[in-house]
Each structure stands twice: as structure tokens, then as C-alpha cells.
């Protein structure tokens, strides 16, 4: 009696005849015929294997696994997630991997397969009811963003409200770190070292100089370098802190909030080991929290001595993973932050346990409203600067985050892609084909720091133009004028999550209105007294 397979008609089965043993030697092999549980393959009287019924294929790939010549290709005709979920091919493979090795999966790059909430938000242009649009081609627009204006002797004046967030030397190659400095120098923005120490070259490249003596300036206007004070303190010294334009205290990151940085042994070469002070080939796994901080009072003292060591010249930034944005932002303000970056669920990574990257943390767009509300309630919105990171792709994403109340955004994964990356998710192995996340000299030779730096600068310039275009078409001559009124949520979920007005309904959802009443004449989120 024929047995009906659970699903059918959804996979294309191809046997590559130039590889197939049976195609060359009729009568031989036919392993696929024997292993297929659904009679997809047929062995005829002449000894020839053919696909007799691909409609019966359920996409289990047993035939492909057993084929001695790797001659079988199974391609879903419909989305695998539609027809096999939850037992998709990658899910089956992951369980097999764990069963064989006793280990969970590690992966580089970042979150995959989760749609961005930003895509459910649309920009409201100006027509007659609001101040008229401005002309992108013939009028001016202010994109500058200043950090630490009232608190530091040397505030940072970003030409565009954009940063390259923390990506360490170790996670990235020397060439990639240099490219980020060159890209930032050409666009007047900030590059962050992450926690893997400082390359000496970065200190002059970031200011636009080609040489250490700083006699040859090649890139205008020059950018800013932030160094990270993170939980592993790799390569950290007083000299390291004093070489920077800003110090970022890392609390967490989007790809693995609640865990520290992961640099796997495959990437810990002699040079990386020397900078970090660890043995060659060891896994450099940063602690999940600062061992020298037990409470907020300690963190306050930490901010104080970091300011003291740098003689009150540079801003102190904080980086948060996506946890409880309202309360976490309040804490950062309390301990004296000049700027706060919040990294969302989609934040990138050089290496992380896969389930943590995929399933831990709040999605980026959902962090903004509570973070902004915290700053407003404390009376420091637009003073303590807020950066949004995590899966940001374009000027459109950036504009949306800024209209929701952020002061700027960071491009991490997008910066890697601008350098040439194609998101193959092999960052953790050190086998990056583009030499961006590799320490292998042969692979690194494929990345030209100046060329990649030019690409980064191009990406930032194009993105800044996009932000400018959206700012002006919605009637503003400065990014400081953006507000939630410039956005609408296109579905109920997004309106419920973000507090934005829902298209059609053209109001905020009632419970948002109740909890945080709109101020007269505007769509801005009101103030509560939770802080």
C-alpha cells in the first residue's frame, strides 16, 4: 500500500549526471534508490537510476547524505520555512551537530531571518498641513552632532550623526581596522576600537594622516577614535586611554547581551596574543560583566577615574545590550554618561553562541521609545546623546531611529559589508574570504585598507545624503528637528510596540495615549515620572 508522505511537491530533486556513478556505470551504486523512504528515485530494468517522482520528496536529504559522489541537489520550490517548519533542514542539521559533538553551535556575523521592525515604519513627508518641505538640491541641512559639549574640554563634533561601533582588532584584521579609521577620517565621524587594544596606525589614520609624524595629511576633515573600556580590558593602559577622543564603557552588546566578547583561538595569532596579553591559540573570552564593578556607585567611581586619567578632556560613552532600555539608560545617565549606544537584537558579532545571537534581546526599533523616554524624564534628551545600533542598513533606518528620538546611529555589519563582506557568517572561523575578519596573512592580503576605507567613506556619504534627503522632504533644516510625527507605523503590532501613530487611524494607539499623553500640538511622547 503506498504511504502518503507528510508533504509533497515542494522540492526540486536534481541528479548531476556528470558526477553520478550510475550515470557512468549503469547497474552500479543506486544508493539513492535504496535510502529514499518515499520512492523518489527509480532503478529500471536496464540498471539506470532516474528521478521518478520528485513530488514525493520531503526534503530530508538522506539521499544527498548517502550519495558517494555528492551528485544530488535538493532545492525547496517553496520556502523551506513554509513547508518544513519547525523541522527545517538547518534545524535538523543543528540537532545532528549537537548529537555528534556534544557542543552547541557558535557563529559569526549576526542575527539572521528576523525581519526588521523598521520595515513596518514609514516616513511622513511634508505637504500643506505641516511646515513645507525643503529642497535637497538647493537648500542646506544641518547634520552635525556634538558629544560632550558641556562636560568635556574636547567635545566630539561629528560631521554626520553616524559612527562605526566597536569591532575589535582580533575580531577584525589589522587592514579592516585601518580601513575604518580611513573611512571615518574622510567623513568626520567616529570609529570605535572595540576591546582588542589599539593599533598605533589608527591614531594617525583617524586624523587623516598617512604617516606617524603627521606631516602628510591625505584625508579631510579627520575623524574621531573611541577606545573601549570593556570587561576583558585587552590591551588597556593609561596610554591607550589617552590616545583616544572618547572612552566607551561596554556593558553589553546586541549579539550576546549578558555575555562578554568571544575571540576564538583560531584567530588568536602571535600579534593578537601580544596585544591582548594571552597565549597564542587560546580562546579570549571576556567576562560577562566588569569584575571591578559591583554596583552603580562603583560605576560612578569608574567614570570619575577615567575622566581623571584623561584629564577631563574626552567624553565617556556607554554601550548597552538590549535589555531594559528605560532603566538601563537611567543608570547610564546617573553614573555620568555623555552618550549612550544601545545595540539591538540584530547586533553583529565576530563570534557568539548561535542561540544567543538569534534569540536573546529586544529588537532594535523597540528599544528607542523607552530609551528616549528615560532621557526626557531625566531632562537630558539631546544633551546625553543616544545612538542606536543593531542591524542598521541605510539612511532610511537611520532617519527612522532619529525621528523616534535617537541622536545618531551606528553601522557595524553594514560597515563590514561596505568593505566587501557578503555576510557568509564565517567570522568566528578566521576564514573570511575578504580578509575583513581574518588573521590569516594570505586572506588579509585581499583587503586593501585604503580601498576599503574609500568604500566606507562612500557608504557613509551616500547614507548621510539619504538622511539629509528624508530630513528635508519632511520639512526640517536640521536633524535636531525630527520627531515621531515624521513617522507612522504601518501595522498594529508596530504601532503597539513603538507608540508611533498608526497609518489610516492616524493616532497613537489608546494605551500609549493613556500612559504617555501627547503634548499639545505635537505627536511627541509625553513624560512620566518613573525616573
Amino acid at each position: 500500500m503506498p504511504v502518503m508522505p507528510p508533504v509533497n511537491g515542494t522540492f526540486c530533486v536534481t541528479v548531476l549526471s556528470d558526477r553520478c556513478l550510475n550515470a557512468r556505470m549503469p547497474g552500479k551504486c543506486a544508493t539513492c534508490v535504496r535510502v529514499c523512504p518515499h520512492e523518489v528515485f527509480r532503478l529500471d530494468d536496464a540498471g539506470i537510476v532516474s528521478v521518478q517522482n520528485y513530488n514525493a520528496c520531503v526534503g530530508c536529504r538522506i539521499c544527498a547524505e548517502f550519495c558517494p559522489e555528492d551528485a544530488i541537489r535538493i532545492n525547496p520550490a517553496e520556502s523551506e520555512f513554509l513547508v518544513r517548519s519547525p523541522w527545517t533542514f538547518p534545524q535538523v542539521e543543528e540537532i545532528h551537530y549537537k548529537a555528534q559533538t556534544g557542543q552547541y553551535m557558535l557563529r559569526g556575523f549576526g542575527t539572521m531571518g528576523l525581519p526588521s521592525l523598521f520595515d513596518q515604519i514609514t516616513v511622513v513627508p511634508s505637504q500643506l498641513a505641516s511646515p513645507p518641505p525643503l529642497d535637497k538640491y538647493r537648500e542646506e541641512c544641518d547634520l552635525e552632532l556634538v558629544i560632550g559639549e558641556d562636560t568635556c574640554e574636547e567635545p566630539i563634533r561629528l560631521k554626520y550623526p553616524l559612527i562605526f561601533p566597536a569591532m575589535s582588532f582580533g575580531a577584525l584584521s589589522r587592514e579592516a581596522r585601518m580601513a575604518l579609521a580611513i573611512g571615518a577620517a574622510q567623513t568626520g565621524i567616529l570609529s570605535n576600537t572595540g576591546e582588542g587594544g589599539l593599533l598605533r596606525d589608527e591614531t594617525w589614520l583617524i586624523k587623516g594622516y598617512e604617516n606617524e609624524a603627521r606631516t602628510m595629511k591625505r584625508w579631510e576633515p579627520g575623524g574621531y577614535l573611541a577606545v573601549q573600556w570593556s570587561t576583558g580590558r585587552w590591551g588597556v593602559s593609561a596610554e591607550y586611554l589617552r590616545a583616544a577622543d572618547a572612552i566607551e564603557i561596554k556593558i553589553g552588546q546586541g549579539a550576546k547581551p549578558g555575555m562578554g566578547g568571544h575571540l576564538l583561538g583560531a584567530k588568536v595569532t602571535a600579534e593578537i596574543a601580544a596585544v591582548r596579553g594571552v597565549p597564542v591559540g587560546t580562546d579570549a573570552l571576556s567576562p560577562c560583566r566588569h569584575y571591578d564593578v559591583q554596583n552603580l556607585e562603583d560605576l560612578k567611581r569608574m567614570v570619575a577615574f577615567l575622566r581623571d586619567v584623561t584629564e577631563y578632556h574626552v567624553p565617556i560613552l556607554f554601550k548597552l545590550g538590549p535589555s531594559r532600555p528605560y532603566e538601563d539608560v537611567c543608570a547610564c545617565v546617573e553614573v555620568g554618561a555623555d552618550a549612550i549606544s544601545i545595540d539591538g537584537l540584530a547586533g553583529g558579532t565576530g563570534a557568539s553562541p548561535a542561540i544567543v545571537t538569534q534569540g536573546v534581546g529586544i529588537p532594535t526599533a523597540a528599544l528607542i521609545a523607552p530609551a528616549v523616554r528615560a532621557l526626557k524624564n531625566l531632562g537630558v534628551h539631546r544633551k546625553v546623546k543616544l545612538f542606536i545600533l543593531g542591524g542598521m542598513r541605510s539612511g532610511l533606518d537611520a532617519y527612522k531611529a532619529m525621528a523616534m528620538g535617537a541622536d545618531g546611529v551606528g553601522f557595524g555589519a553594514a560597515a563590514e559589508i561596505a568593505m566587501g563582506c557578503r555576510a557568509c557568517m564565517a567570522c568566528h572561523t578566521g576564514r573570511c574570504p575578504y580578509g575583513i575578519t581574518s588573521q590569516d596573512p594570505e586572506l588579509r592580503a585581499r583587503l586593501d585598507a585604503v580601498e576599503a576605507g574609500n568604500r566606507l567613506a562612500n557608504f557613509i556619504r551616500a547614507t548621510a545624503e539619504e538622511i539629509k534627503m528624508l530630513t528635508m522632504l519632511s520639512g526640517h533644516d536640521s536633524i535636531k528637528g525630527l520627531s515621531e510625527e515624521d513617522l507612522r507605523a504601518v501595522d498594529l503590532d508596530t504601532a503597539a510596540i513603538t507608540g508611533l501613530k498608526l497609518i489610516g487611524y492616524d493616532r497613537r494607539l489608546p494605551w500609549w495615549e493613556e500612559a504617555y499623553p501627547s503634548q499639545a500640538g505635537g505627536g511627541t511622547i509625553g513624560v512620566d515620572r518613573r525616573c
Partner: protein, 223 residues
Amino acid sequence: MAVVGRVRELVAEGRDLRAVSAELRRAVAQGPVTIRHAGHLHGLAAGLSEGDILIDGDAGDYLGVLNDGAYIHVTGNAGRYLADNMTSGTVVIDGSCGDGAGQYCYGGTIVVRGSAGALTAVMNKGATILIAGDVGNEAATYMLGGDVVILGDAGARLANYLIRGAIYVGGTWRSLGHNAVQAELDAADLEKLTAWFRRFDIAGDVPSLKKVVSLSQRPFYKS
């Protein structure tokens, strides 16, 4: 700032870190400095590349954080996170210190003549840390280099996930952490320890010390 003989005296009482620090930075360039009433200051003498500083009395938390060459001597007790993230220099405490002494250091020397708290020398990457008394739990967790000497007793999970470097213990420990194992003292150990004891005037029976080293440099992930 008073100058008594050739030593400058700096009174910290009632002043904040910024004020005392600015004065201290100028003063250390001139010669030895004595600071009194500094217990309320946290992060004092941070990141100095030179200086001979005597703190008369107790010191607060994060004393000598990021020290990069100064000699700092405290006649009383020190707070938590003593000489945090030091790269060079020497810090000597006549009394005891709180939790977290010598964390994240890349170099330099710490001598505590009394006892130290929990989490001493965590993630030490190169400093020499000598504790004449006892230490609390979790000492030398994830240490990646350097030496720690504890003449008294250690608490639980000593040297948990030790990667590199050595811990020498005069007394007993409640338990050893993962990836840590007892080893024999060799001639180089004896020479090194004897020299330190002589240099810092520490009384101790070097050959009776027990040595702890790591089992593997890669205890977390395989392949």
C-alpha cells in the same frame, strides 16, 4: 601643598578627586609626595607614569588604577580594586586590602603585608602580586599571566579557569578551580620567590610553598 624637608605634603581632606589629582600630577614630577586623609578618594594616583607617593593612613577604592610606573606606599589599609589594570610600577600596602586587588594588570608589582579579599588577581595578565596574609574566594580567576604569591590561606575555587602564570600558596586552599592543578616548584621558582621575598622584606619559607598552574590553555571550546 606644604614642603617638609624635601618631601611635599598634600592634604586631601575635604577635597575631591579632580582637585587632589591635579595637584598630585604636578607634585610627583618634583619629588616624593606624602598624602594624608585620602581614604574618601577613589581612583587616587591613577595612570601615573612616575612618582614616589606615600599615603599616610588608609586609601579608598581603585587606588593606583592604571598605574604605569609610580611607586605607591600605603601605611594603613587600602580599599577594593587596588592597582586595577596596572601596567608598571609598585604598590605596597602595609595593612590589608579589600576585594579585587590586582585585577586586569599587565605588569608591575603589588605587595600587601596583611590580607586581601575575594577575586584578587582576577584576569591578571602579567603583574607580580604578593599577599603576606590570606585571600578570599575566587583568587586568580581566569588569570592569563603573571605570578601570585599567597603566604596564608586561599578560599574556594582558587585559580578557576587559570590559563597561564603561576600561583604560590603558603597555607591551604578551600578548593581549586577548574583547569588548575598543583605542580612542583622548580629551581627558577625558588630563585624568583627568594628574590621577591628579599626585595620586599617578606618572611616566608620559600621551599614549602605549593605551586598551582593551568592544565590547558584552551579549556573552553574544542576544535
